[in-house]
Subunit: 408 residues, 4 copies
């Protein structure tokens, strides 16, 4: 399966560990190790907070996460012969937990700290911890659910070149300037203080840190796509921007629903990836590539039965009609699912966490029927240990007695 | 399978046929036939244009569709005992083509006539005609693809009550007033001239027509959701607003990709539905329902291999950064897929039509990673009669020689 | 979808209808219609008994079926250019019920009339009738189950040539001679009296009828394979033995479990097939073909959850150990499933019928672990309207009150 | 995931390791560790030969395997409260390779040493070694294939009680006596010399060894079922015969096709299982259980496209007709697949190994159509890195240049 070429020391903060991680994207971050096309290797990764979150019943740690100090990435790795314009073929042959850290957590981020998709409804910090049972997980904070993982890296991508770096910095700065004081913020601008630049040091590192991308959003190079289907067994094709490609990865999720709606919405964990690399020379122009393309895995969890909730682009607070707004439509679909699940005794926060973590499918079902976008969220019914399908007698079970961990 | 209770005369315009259809939603449209819970029946439906489109090689008919005269609905049907606050359980036991009309069409709507999802890229009217081969379809206008249908009604819903009617009219009027002259328009406001109000007539019909909903968007009652997964074998739970429910349906699609992106983007056809009805008394409050909920079918076409394209919320024209805009992210994902398919010799319009018609999955993959939404569109590779997966040698086949039908 | 080229008159016995059917296989049965490679056409078929079975609550008709007068086949159809050694590519584009006959039946054959797989346990004739609800079926004789159809022709094949005819006749005669009086019989030898030889007549027909194959077993040409996965959307490759191929078909099943264990074990019906034909010249030697090969359909019903029963090759009556006998192992697996289902209130006959009709999977799981073959039968749990999975409290529902139809 | 309660020392022969294994089944083998219902734990296992096979290019080790010294089992484990007549609920939460032994092998057993399913065709010993790449495997001995694992224990079961022990011994002795000198043998009778009886010792162990079951066949308690679908994520219900149940397991397979046809036909390896246990009191009578029952996993590899080969019960050597013999029919189906694959340049042995190892489905498709059973073997087309589907031009690729390892 390939040797582990990047290891993490879970008993140290990422800032202190021997092998240098990076938590920014920049063209100049040096390649840590080179491979040949066809090579395979194992990469260990911190959880996205670098160990800030504990397996306990308080959400204070979620409340206090410093978002400038997250996404400690493993890499960048170089592939010999990779040049700008090529496609880097990346086999995610396996992803798993580290034996010494076989648990995960889900955070609802507080509105003041960035919030999540439903932050207006759930503004306070919350946390659920998950135990792994082989392919399944359960949470003491969320009764009645047990589901197989769709393990994947939330974050994986190649290094941008300078042109892409500057283009994105410019467009993001323009957006930020429209409402720089917004809470939650519009985006995360460069922030040098807490930047880890891998093996860079000194003035060069300082200079690069001031312009380096924060890792929050996905961009043309991949990055924090949070696509649950980049799972164990998938193959991804990344555009190459710099010599060697510079592939980095991290933010491993044991499971996630489409959208990762609570922001720290997946089941977050430290873990490993088994990676294979190859090249398609000049693949960007051969295939007209702008963003990464991928092929999902034949061992994704599969389900036949779903319960599907629809949402349309009408604001739930004001009743205002929006024009083909898929963001609002998906939010309404999720809120509809939350209301449904509450009828079985779940708290809203528990329902929110279920949608964020379980392998739910979020779809843009209709996007042309003016003025309403129609989005749907599909929940596999088999994740519940009781029957959640509508029936004449109404809900037959009330879970309850526990709640997710809350901040003080 | 139940007797046909609503038949269409394909050799007549809908306006002229014996059984009265309706092309608006209004609480006062009379129930055409009553059923008991547990009953099953067959319903025939016009194609959404009521026969305006011909199986030929010109898109002039698509260009000229009068959007005030579409969605000729079959119904409304009543269920005994259904009262406001109940859930109407609707089994879509089967959907199919009518023997005398075993073909379908896909239209790219001209920008001047409403356009579609990619109308800035494909502003001209276009048309592709599809032949059915049992469960499969092919088009003389789109070489190299053959796929199984995911047959479904684009439009199905219950009658709104007056409160819902007025609420939606108010919110839509408010949106329209923000840019009433926009091309394409923000929405389709009430329009009495061409309204068909079912069995209503005279002054009552005229009055109702002036306030009746146009059928273009989905709303809380269902309506034009264009969800491909409301397919043969699915079960839908609709809120009941008026006594009897008033279930109507139409706009049958032989297949559609998520989003129905060319607007007339499915494979449109006349057809039939085999419907079963039942009730969950007081289901709206028992389950906290706002919009319809459904369970998909065990015979949806299934695929293992997909090629998935990502998109982020950066405008392709201006490079402008948008805040978690899933509409733009999905558009970028679709455009990325179009560019890819063009490398195999497809015209942009053909690629657009493939995405609109084939059973592609459109997902909101990440919706919290500020400022970029990440949407994906997944194309099943098996719909092509050649290998579309990326490979070192580049695309190995160039389709071509034909194009979709264009308007003069 | 192609024009109907072979129609059946359900109000006449097959022997009396205008278009001549055949119920034997023989090289000299004349082609009824010729097609070109690439052609598509529709074929109507009788149910396998040619209308002997009624939709009622008596199994006397099942008890009295004359097995020499069954499998009224539609065809043979010729494909221009097909020569011995070619592969005939047959697309089963669709299969369905005839509108005028939208129901089906399942028979348990009496031991004296051939019996079924569990005939020692269920020696008496029985019948269940099934109603179709779009893609689903239910039976008033088997409560608590509802499942989607996996519609397919039980019987489809090409005409044998004389060498194959004689080879199979010889090997079957040899087997029959080992126990010619066995009840149930070892096989069905040629029987001229009730033979229908299509368009043949006179002395040639009489002579051919005396040597023509009975249609009961599958053979190298295909024939009565009763493979549920030759379903709508599948593609089959048949060896060609005679000029034109001579493709015939019939015995349509609305659904069937692997093994078709009650003998008349599928849901039998009259129906239609939409067929497409093509050729692979010299395909038999190119691909080393002895028996037909096929590719299943992407719209087969799919399930995630199954309950699977194991069986080993120990005789249930005597306790005798058999050597890697997959027949006995599968029988034991089926009997284990029957006993399980009886705990929910089903009669043995009802359980037997469920296994014969529902889309259950019968597998040869282990065939080398001397002396026990291990076979499994997997029942999709979703076909029941209650939970059949084992639980601590034991079975929570007792169906009952009805039984399958029995013979006097 | 539970602590490892049974560890193996791969650098020692099983006979020499600290924790005692057993390679026989007997009621008196002492429980090695007790658990409570609801507990979870990890179990390590030897490969079935206990380390006799090397990762090299010679099959001499396969040729020389001593079949009396195999199936070194981990256990037996007891569950508190388990009594005869209960069902032991076993969650196979995970199965995987051991980090220090991440490879596997497939053996074709020589006819003189027991042979395999096609031993008359492939009488010589052979071996293929497999490398694991995350969820995928490839073999330097079998070019052109790469497939995801369906990892499972070949062998898992509860301890028999004395009555079952004696019943099976009697029936097996009776069969053996019909042809005691047969090559390959009819079965594996008790054999004390090489018996490992776990923690038993002295005279009691000697006595028990003389009557203890060999582990080759599956029996009512489970045992060597070699069911590929007892995979990671499945749940199995075992009958309990002795106090505590006495659950043992071993013979881990990285992948296997239905039937495990080369005898050592799976990809054999050492590995671990994550096990959870629970009880259904009195479950045997509540559910009418004779053999284990199980529910498969939602993360089994899934495929849409298969190429399916049929076989009928006519002996390939003599042309003799057999009566509904599923063993022969499946053999013919497998041989048909072998001939097909040889057209792409595979040796017969390579094709045999592919059928034994890849996740192929072996089905009893028709078992009542006298005199021919019809069995099918379905090969997922996606396991090949080229297109194996029939096409007009014939096979387009010839693999070759390598072969499986052979014995001198």
């Amino acid at each position: 399966m390939g040797e582990a070429v990047f290891t993490v020391e879970l008993n140290k903060w990422p800032e202190e560990q021997t092998v240098k991680t990076h938590n920014r994207w920049h063209p100049d971050i040096p390649i840590v190790q080179w491979f040949k096309p066809g090579d395979e290797f194992r990469v260990e990764c911190y959880d996205w907070t670098g160990g800030q979150i504990k397996n306990d019943d308080s959400a204070n740690d979620i409340r206090d996460v410093d978002l400038t100090k997250v996404h400690y990435l493993s890499g960048p790795f170089g592939v010999e012969g990779a040049e700008p314009g090529d496609l880097l073929v990346v086999d995610i042959n396996d992803v798993g937990a580290l034996p010494q850290s076989a648990w995960g957590f889900t955070g609802i981020f507080a509105r003041e700290n960035g919030g999540g998709f439903l932050t207006e409804h759930f503004p306070a910090a919350g946390k659920a911890c998950w135990d792994f049972h082989g392919i399944y997980t359960t949470s003491r904070h969320v009764p009645g659910v047990r589901f197989p993982g769709i393990i994947h890296p939330g974050l994986i991508g190649t290094l941008p070149d300078r042109a892409l770096l500057e283009k994105a910095n410019a467009r993001e700065a323009a957006l930020l300037s429209t409402d720089p004081e917004r809470v939650p913020p519009l985006l995360a601008p460069p922030h040098a203080d807490t930047a880890l630049m891998g093996a860079m040091s000194g003035a060069a590192a300082d200079k690069a840190a001031r312009e380096a991308w924060r890792t929050v959003p996905p961009r043309e190079h991949g990055g924090n796509c949070d696509i649950k289907n980049l799972s164990r067994g998938s193959r991804v094709y990344f555009p190459v921007y710099v010599k060697g490609g510079g592939l980095s990865m991290g933010d491993i999720h044991w499971s996630q629903g489409d959208g990762e709606i609570t922001f720290c919405g997946a089941i977050e964990m430290a873990g490993f990836l088994d990676i294979g690399v190859d090249l398609i020379k000049d693949g960007v122009s051969k295939y007209g590539i702008t963003n990464p393309v991928f092929r999902p895995s034949p061992v994704e969890p599969h389900f036949t039965e779903y319960l599907v909730f629809e949402g349309i682009s009408v604001d739930e607070h004001t009743g205002e009609q929006h024009y083909l707004d898929a963001h609002i439509a998906y939010r309404r679909a999720c809120l509809n699912a939350v209301e449904y699940l509450k009828k079985f005794g779940y708290t809203g926060e528990q329902a929110y966490v279920i949608l964020g973590t379980a392998p739910v499918e979020g779809r843009i079902s209709g996007i042309v029927d003016i003025p309403n976008a129609c989005c749907t969220v599909a929940i596999p019914t088999a994740i519940f240990d009781f029957d959640i399908r509508p029936q004449a007698a109404g809900p037959q079970r009330q879970v309850g007695g526990v709640q997710i961990a809350l901040a003080n």
